[in-house]
Symmetry: D2
Subunit: 349 residues, 4 copies
C-alpha cells in the first residue's frame, strides 16, 4: 500500500532533504509540498536538484492543505507547529522536524525557547540507549514524532553509550562542534552570507546558551544519567562547509574503568545499529565520510593523560541530523523496514 | 642602522609570511632567502604575492649561506635546526620557527618528537604571564628565540591569565581547535589535498597525541600552574579555510571565583598588550577578524551551568601564530619598537 | 543474471565513484577492487564513505587479477590501459575511464598526450548527436568503451546540438570552465593542496594546451562540424569546490538563425534524454544542482549584442563526467535499462 | 597637511576596504564614517578587523554629515549619489565607488541601470590607455572621480592594450569571470547565503545583461576601439572565495599580428605601471596572488589554433577592483605619490 505524504517547508533545506529521501521510498507517494511565500511556484524553482519531483507545485502551508494525508512532515521554524495540530488530529503520522515537541521539561522550554510548551512527542533518534532499551521502542507505532536537533542528536549519540554504561561522568561534558551553515536554514541573514563564512570559523551561542543543550541533557538522562547531575559546556563553530557536523565531545573517565570496558560500552550499544558506525580504535570520522548518508560515524579515544574519553562524531546535519532521522523514525513507526530509502554510502570527495 | 636578514624555508608558508612582514620593516634588509629543492629559482616563482621582493633568488639552505647575517630566521621542519647551530654561532639573533628549541623538558621532547633534545630558547609569545612578569622579559636582548607552535600559543594565550590569577583550574582543560591547512605546510600530502578538505571537517591527532600539548603545559606552568597538575584534552580539526585557528578552550571555575574576578584576570593580563585583543563581554572572535593581522582576539564567557570558563580565541596561524610572533620577538630582542611592521588591522571579508 | 565486475584504481576518486554507483546496481556484483600501492588494504581505508562495500579488500592491479570478470572498469592514469589488453581479451565488457581509447586521430594523440596511440573505442557520451543519430548507437552491444574526459563531454554536450543543427559556428568556440580539483585525481601534488586552492581561482593549461581540446573537436566533428573547421579557445579554472564543472561555452550565431531555431536545436537534441536537462529560457544551472547526479544541466542564451549563443552547463565531473557516463554506457552496452543505478536527483545544498 | 575624510557606506564591504587602506595613509585623517541602519553603533561592531579605527562611531549618511570634509568617499548602492551632490558642492574631492557617474552614454545608463543619468566623472582606472595617453591624465587634479566596476576594470585592463595597439579585434570579445561574493555586497540575500555558494559555481547575468558590459565598451572605446564595433560576450560565475576576480578574456588576433607584436602591446602599456603586473610568457595569475594587494596581475597567451589572444587577469575586487582604485585615484587627483598606502604584496596562502 502506498501512503500519501505532505511535506511543509518544502522550499527550505530540511524540507528539501526530506523530499530527496522520500523520492526514493517505495511505500510513499509525495502528494503535497507546501511553502509560505513561495506557494504557487514549482518545487523545482526552489529545489532544482530534485528532478524526479518536477511535477510538484508548492501549495500554501495551511491546515487545510496539510490535512487528509497519511503522513505529514512539518519542516517549519519552531513555534509554528501548534497551529496545525487540530487539523492533523486524524493524520496517522505527524513528524515535526522543528523543536516544538522535543523537550519534556516545560522549564527548559521556557528558558531556552520561550512561548507555550507543547506536548513532547516520541524522540526520533532510534539508536539512543534508554533505561529499558532504546528510543526505538518509543517510535514503534508512534503517531507523533519529534525529529531531533542535529547538534543535539550528534552529541547524544556520541556520549550516551558511555553514560549508560557508567564509564564516563556526565557531570562535566565538553562539546565543541564544527557545523555547516545549512543547519541554520535558508532565510537570508547577514551573518550567514557566503562572504561572512568563507575563509573563516565563527563561534556562536558561546557560554551555554544554545537551544540544543537541554535536548542533550534530556537524552542523556534517558540513557541513565542522573537528571540533575548533567553539565555540558557546548560551543558550536560555523565553518565553511555547506553541510555537516563534526562534534568533538569529551567526558571524564569514571573511577577505574579500563580501556576495554570503555570501548565495550560503545561496541555493545551500536553493534546492531545499521546507521551508527563505530570506527576501529585509532580511526576517527570526517564529515566527508557521511555526506548524503544517514549515518553517524563515531570514533572513541581514551585519553589517560587528560583522564577523559574523547568522542568524535560526524553527521550530515540534513540527513542523519534531520531528514534521515525523520524518515528512519517514520519507517519504524509504520512497521516498515527501518533502512528503507536511507543511504548507507556517502558522496565523497 | 639596517640589519641584514636571511630567511630559510623561504619557499614555504611560514617563510613566506616572515618575508611578507619583513618586507615592510624599516630596520632590516632581506639579503638572503634559502630553500632546498627550489634553490636557484626566483623567490617570486614560489611566492608570487611578494612582488616587492621580486629581485630575490632562492639560495641553497646551507650553513655557509646562512652565516654572516645579523639575523637568521629558520623556517624548517623540526629536527633540522641543529645542523646550522655552529655556523650561526656569531649571528646576533637566530629565530627558529620550528619546534626544536621550544621545550624545556627532555622527557616531553622524547615523548612527543623524539631524537636529540636541543637547548631551549626564549619563548616567542611576549604577552604570556610568567611568575615574575611576562615572557617578554625573556625576549629582551635575547640572541636565540623559539617562535611558538601556532596552536600552542593560541591556547596558552587563551588560558594563561585565568591560570595565573587562580580563577580557573588547569587540571581539566579541554581545547578543540578549528584550524586551516596552511599550518601543516606546503609539502604535498594526500590528506592535505583540496579534494580531501573542501566541504568537510577532519579531526587529527585525537586522544592526546598532538605535539603542541607539552608546549601548552609548559607555558601554563610558567604562568603559575603546578607543573604536575596540568591536564589538557586537545583536539584539532582541519576545516576548509586556508589560514586561521579558532580555538575553543574551557577550564573549570576555581572555588567561588566571581564573574568579575574571572573577567578581571584577562582584563589585567592584556590591558596594555597591543596584539592581544580582549573582546567585550558577550562578543567572540571570528578567524575573519584576524586574517593577516598580528593579533590574538579573545572572548571570555563564564558558563555557570557548566561550571566552566569558555575562552574562544582567533589567531592567524601564519601571523600571530608564527611569523608575526617571530618578528614581534625580533623587535623586542633588538630593542626596536615592538609593533614595527606588524599589522593590527586584518583583511576581511 | 548477475554480472561480475572488477574495478581498478579503486582507491582513487574515479574508481570510488564507479563503486558508489555500482553498489546500488541490481545486475552486477562487485567482485574485485584493485589498486597499486594500497593493495592489501581494506577498501574502506581509502573510501570510508562506501560502507556497503566494507567487505572488499584491495587487490593488486595486475592482468591476472582483472581477468575472469564479465566487466572490467579501468580507472587508471592514461597510458596504463594497454598492458591489460591481452589479459582482458575474453572479457565481455571493458570500460576505460582514462584517455587511452578516446581519440581517433593518432596525430592528436601524439600532439596532446604522446606515446603509443591505442585503438579508439566507443565513446561513452550516449546523448551526443552524430551524423546518423547519436553516440548511443555505437554503445549498443559494444565490448570496449572509452568513458569521456569530464571537461570534454561537458563542452561537447553544450554545443553539439547547435553544431548539428547548423545554428552555431564551430569555427570560433570559446569555453571557460570552473572546475573542482577532484578531476585532477588523488595523487599528492603541491598545486592541488587545499592551501593552494582555498580562497582562490587558478587557471591552468591556458592558451590551447589542454588535452580535452582534441576530444571536443572530435565529438563536434561527429556531430556534423567540418573536421578542419573547428576552433576552440579552452580555459579551465580550478575553483574551491571538491566536485563539479561549470562550463560557459559560446559560439557565433550562424547567419540569420532565429531565436526559435536556435532553441529548437537543443530542445530537439535532448527532448527524450533522461540525463541531459535543458533548462527553461532564462534559467541557468549551478554545480549544486547536479552534485551526485548523473545529469548534465544546460541553459542556453542567445546574446544578440554579442552575436553569440552562450551555453552554460553544470556537470558533476565524477558522475556524469566520468563514473556515471561509464555506468550509463555499460547499461546500454549490455542491453540493461539505461537509467539503472544512476541518480537523477542531486544532493544539495 | 592632513586632509579630512568622510566615508559613507562604512559598514559595508567596499566602505570597509576603503577604510582599511586609508587607515595606513599618512596624508589623511578619517574623521567621519557613516551608515544607514547601523548609525549610532561603533564601526568596530561592523568591521571588527579595523582595530586601528576603534575610536570611530557610525554617523547617519546625510548630506549634512558628509559635508565639510576635504574628501568624501561614497560607497553606496547606485542611484543614491545624486542626493548628496548639492551638499558636497564645496568638497574638494568626491569619489563615488558606486556606478552613478561611470557611464558617459545616457542610452547605456537607461538600458542597463534605468533612472536619471548623472554626470560622468573621471574614470578611476589610471592605467587604461586612451587615445592620447592614459586615464591617469583625466584624474590629475580631478575633483569628481568614479571608481570603476570591479569586473569592468578587470576586463578593460586585460584587453585595452591589445585594442589600443590594434592587435586584437574588439568586435568579438568573450569574457568569463570567476568572482567572489563580496562584490555583491553585504545585504542579506538568499542567493548569497553560504549554503548556496559553498561547493558550487553559479552563473548569473548570462546572455549579455550584466551592468558592467557598457562600462567595458566605454573603456575600450576610449582606448581606441571603434565605438560601434565593440561586442562582448560576458558571463560572471560566482565561486566559493570571499574575494577576487579571475577573468578569462579572449579576442581574435587581428590580421597578421606576430606573437612579438602582440606581446609588445601589453609590455609597452604596462611597463611603468606600479599596479599592473604583466607576468612572463607562459605564466598566469591566480586570485591568491593578489588578495589584499592593489594589483591587477595579467598573463597573456597567443593561441594560434584558436586564432585568439587569451588574457587571464586576477584582481582583488575590493582592492584594485574598488577601494584601491579609489585611493589610487585620490592620490593622483591630489598630487600625492600614486602608490601611497597601496599594498603591492598580497596575503597568501
Amino acid at each position: 500500500m502506498t501512503l500519501s505524504v505532505a511535506v511543509s517547508g518544502a522550499s527550505g533545506y530540511a524540507g528539501g532533504e526530506i523530499l530527496r529521501l522520500l523520492a526514493d521510498h517505495p511505500d510513499v507517494e509525495i502528494r503535497t509540498v507546501t511553502a509560505h511565500s513561495s506557494a504557487g511556484q514549482r518545487l523545482l524553482a526552489h529545489q532544482p536538484h530534485l528532478r524526479s519531483l518536477a511535477h510538484l507545485e508548492l501549495q500554501p502551508t495551511t491546515p487545510e492543505v496539510l490535512a487528509g494525508h497519511d503522513i505529514v512532515f512539518l519542516a517549519l521554524p519552531h513555534g509554528q507547529s501548534a497551529q496545525y495540530t487540530d487539523a492533523l488530529a486524524d493524520t496517522a503520522l505527524v513528524i515535526d522536524a522543528g523543536a516544538d515537541h522535543r523537550l519534556t521539561s516545560a522549564e527548559d522550554w521556557a528558558a531556552f525557547y520561550g512561548g507555550a510548551h507543547a506536548e513532547p512527542w516520541a524522540y526520533g533518534v532510534p539508536e539512543l540507549p534508554t533505561a529499558g532499551g532504546k528510543q526505538r521502542d518509543n517510535l514503534r507505532g508512534a503517531r507523533r514524532i519529534a525529529a531531533p536537533g542535529c547538534n543535539a542528536s550528534t552529541v547524544a549519540l556520541s556520549l550516551a553509550p558511555g553514560v549508560a554504561a557508567g564509564v564516563i561522568d556526565p557531570g562535566d561534558i565538553v562539546s565543541v562542534l564544527a557545523v555547516g551553515p545549512s543547519g541554520a536554514g535558508k532565510a537570508a541573514k547577514t551573518n550567514l552570507l557566503a562572504s561572512e563564512i568563507l575563509g573563516t570559523a565563527n563561534p556562536y551561542a558561546v557560554g551555554g546558551t544554545h537551544r540544543h543543550i537541554p535536548e542533550i541533557r534530556q537524552a542523556l538522562a534517558a540513557a541513565g544519567a542522573p537528571g540533575d547531575g548533567i553539565r555540558i559546556s557546548f560551543t558550536p563553530v560555523l565553518v565553511p562547509m555547506a553541510r555537516g557536523i563534526l562534534a568533538t565531545s569529551t567526558a571524564p573517565i569514571v573511577g577505574d574503568a579500563t580501556d576495554a570496558e570503555i570501548r565495550a560500552a560503545w561496541v555493545e550499544a551500536y553493534a546492531d545499529e545499521p546507521f551508527v558506525e563505530l570506527l576501529p580504535e585509532g580511526v576517527f570520522p570526517r564529515v566527508a565520510d557521511v555526506l548524503g548518508a544517514n549515518v553517524a560515524s563515531i570514533g572513541v579515544a581514551v585519553d589517560r593523560a587528560a583522564n577523559r574519553v574523547t568522542v568524535v562524531a560526524a553527521v550530515d546535519n540534513l540527513v542523519k541530523g534531520t531528514a534521515g532521522a525523520a524518515v528512519q523514525s517514520m519507517n519504524i513507526a509504520l512497521g516498515l523496514a527501518e533502512t528503507t530509502a536511507l543511504p548507507l554510502n556517502g558522496v565523497a570527495p
